[in-house]
Symmetry: C2
Subunit: 298 residues, 2 copies
């Protein structure tokens, strides 16, 4: 990897993303105060910023830069955060902690939490529209809106959440579990990489390679998430470990065992890295991110 330092890369990119999120979120001093406070509470709670960093890395892989894709990178983080806020609601997973602090509805109440999620999803599309000013061909914005809407909607993330909810407490097949993981998590991760590459002018071949790698990376990410839920601690995770089991959610290690799950994640990551070979030197961040996905502790 010729000396590529992932920790430095992640810290720098996270700093850029955090600063951009800070800029793009409505001020807490702007009315209506409550909703802006609630939006900021969850988005600025930290988090790995994996999706925005993947947008950036997708752009960099095809020769682009973070500045070209930053509004869309923020949009992906807002969509991810909205889904967590709604997922944590009493009517859904009923979680009290997220990213190491009280969930949105525990602080602001259910009504504001629902609206904060709605507002973040809405603002995300505003930011994608704003990205038009930063790209050489603004017509690509239309494709990016469509792609992110698909990845976030019922043929993507929301579809995975629905099947997840409907599967609670049931014995589900390995196929159903893979459906949930591919839709609930992998779709948005894959889209993050893809739109990064597309906004930065990546050609069809580059986008195809990144799409396949993104699929594998996304599934591996969720398998590792399942493993961490079994093995991790509250301190490391920022949320209560063992929550899948408590909620009788089917997990990858639950169905395939821990060893096979670890092997599967490793296989997916290796395959993703192979596919990213086409980008040569430029793929260094993506290759390191791929390793990070399986090696992370939270």
């Amino acid at each position: 990897m010729s000396g590529f330092d992932l920790q430095v890369y992640l810290t720098e990119r996270r700093g850029l993303v955090d600063a951009a999120l800070e800029r793009h979120l409505p001020s807490e001093a702007a009315p209506p105060l409550t909703i802006h406070r609630a939006m900021r509470y969850s988005v600025m709670a930290g988090g790995k910023r994996l999706r925005p960093i993947l947008v950036i890395a997708g752009a960099e892989a095809v020769g682009g830069a973070a500045t070209m894709v930053m509004p869309t990178a923020c949009a992906l983080e807002m969509i991810h955060t909205y889904s967590l806020i709604h997922d944590d609601l009493p009517a859904m997973d009923d979680d009290d902690y997220r990213r190491g602090r009280l969930t949105n509805h525990k602080v602001f109440g259910d009504a504001i939490a629902i609206l904060a999620g709605d507002a973040l999803l809405t603002l995300a599309f505003r930011l994608i529209a704003d990205n038009a000013d930063l790209v050489s061909d603004p017509r690509v914005i239309r494709d990016v809106v469509a792609e992110i809407a698909d990845a976030a909607g019922t043929i993507g993330m929301v579809g995975g959440q629905v099947v997840d909810i409907e599967s609670e407490g049931k014995a589900i097949s390995a196929e159903t579990l893979e459906y949930i993981h591919r839709h609930k998590t992998a779709a948005l991760i894959r889209a993050s990489l893809r739109v990064g590459a597309r906004l930065a002018g990546g050609d069809a071949k580059a986008v195809a390679a990144i799409t396949e790698a993104g699929s594998d990376l996304g599934l591996a990410f969720q398998i590792v998430d399942d493993l961490l839920d079994v093995e991790g601690s509250l301190e490391e995770l920022g949320k209560t470990a063992g929550s899948d089991e408590r909620k009788q959610k089917a997990t990858y290690p639950g169905i395939h065992g821990r060893e096979a799950s670890r092997r599967q994640a490793k296989m997916l990551i290796d395959r993703a890295k192979e596919r990213l070979g086409v980008f040569g030197q430029r793929s260094a961040p993506l290759l390191a991110l791929a390793d990070y996905v399986v090696e992370r502790k939270s």
Copy 2:
């Protein structure tokens, strides 16, 4: 008005909108079935289709046609419907009936209702992106996405909902009530007219006229809604009358009295019609729609 028949116009346009919604909503036979059924349940429950018809009328006023703007017209109806689904949740207004039948969460449960709302909002932006194929300058799509996101977000509809929720049971000023009405309802109505005109290639002068008319029309619409809530019957409204009073919501007639409210709505509509004069013959549908807003019974 030279023989313009609003009933024929509304029936025809509603038929076009219903057929397009039918096409654009995911099939109930496509997995995950539950969420698609829930989305269709609320969108296809009827409704006046006022927002999509305003998109069409906005296009027609500048010489465009319904076919040019139909995906965006459907998007506006989906955003309106998502807001109703979330508004009706127990955590929000806790309503059992809407458009004459059980609310979404009464049929599908709170979790699916939340996700159905999320999915409709997401699909709306997909449809706006798709509208790029139907307009002469696809770059306008970026502006339409931005405009609708603003009208639906915290500086628009969601902002109005937040202040509405926070004002329940409190004595609020006439200014706060106007803030709620202008944001919760008028913003999306104004945006409907504006994006119709913009997609159809309306120039700055035309869009400015339609913007001012849309503001007045939107506020008048909500004043009449408040009046109908006081005066209407369940049969006419499709929802329980008197619900504002039960929920201790401030209303226009509650603050200004019924007579002054009726006068105010009439004044706004007259002013809107005056502004629409610039469109000559082409404004016939909009002028008739303006009258309809104050004269409707549901």
